[in-house]
């Protein structure tokens, strides 16, 4: 049984736990806490927690969903590159980063257009 091969995973888990703990602890120690009704509601978006499921959603949720779908699924193109990027070399690196650059232009556009503002 050769357990050394699993050492990087152990290090990785340890680092993850450490970073998470540090952030939570910092927020716990340094953060200001003000409690009010809206904040402790189950859904922060303003829905009633106990209600019929057939209410109409605000149309703005769909706008957020559109942006999410785009930026979430385009990353699917990065995944095959990420697992093999050592073999693929610099040309693939350049290709992926030009793709990310195009996504960045889209992101700047939607930010400046105000699509990320709720009101």
């Amino acid at each position: 049984m050769n357990l050394e091969e699993y050492l990087p995973i152990l290090v990785f888990v340890g680092a993850g736990v450490f970073i998470a703990t540090v952030f939570v602890a910092l927020a716990f120690i340094r953060g200001h806490r003000t409690v009010y009704d809206d904040k402790i509601a189950p859904y922060e978006c303003g829905f009633d927690a106990f209600n019929t499921g057939r209410i109409r959603f605000d149309i703005r949720y769909y706008l957020v969903a559109i942006l999410f779908v785009l930026f979430d699924l385009e990353v699917a193109l990065l995944f095959p590159w990420a697992v093999t990027f050592l073999e693929l070399g610099w040309s693939a690196f350049a290709g992926v980063f030009s793709f990310l650059f195009i996504l960045l232009i889209g992101f700047i556009y939607e930010w400046k257009k105000g699509a990320l503002e709720w009101d």
Binding site: I59, I66, L70
Partner: protein, 101 residues
């Protein structure tokens, strides 16, 4: 032994279900979009099956591209849906009867 032909039948079934779904859900544009996405997925099953049977990587690559392009397409579709809802206050395709002649 499962060969591409059987998976082909599966994909045709999913495709036909999606096509029927478009026909019977004309009252809700979101259902129509869901059915179109289902059609894309049916086709990608086909690609994966053929790529697996022939030990050829092209089909897998096509499927990754198909998924992302379909996401872009559904984003544009949802944008059009929001626009349509704001103008007409309905999301029913059956009510789209302003343009005729």
């Amino acid at each position: 032994m499962i060969d591409p032909f059987h998976i082909n039948i599966l994909s045709i079934l999913v495709f036909v279900i999606a096509a029927m779904g478009i026909l019977i859900s004309m009252n809700n544009l979101i259902k129509v979009f869901l059915c179109i996405e289902l059609m894309f997925l049916a086709v990608s099953i086909n690609f994966i099956a053929y790529a697996y049977a022939a030990h050829n990587i092209d089909g897998h690559v096509f499927t990754v591209f198909l998924l992302t392009v379909a996401a872009a397409e559904s984003a544009v579709g949802l944008g059009i849906l929001v626009f349509y809802f704001r103008r007409r206050s309905v999301i029913s395709v059956a009510d789209a009867t302003v343009l005729k002649g």
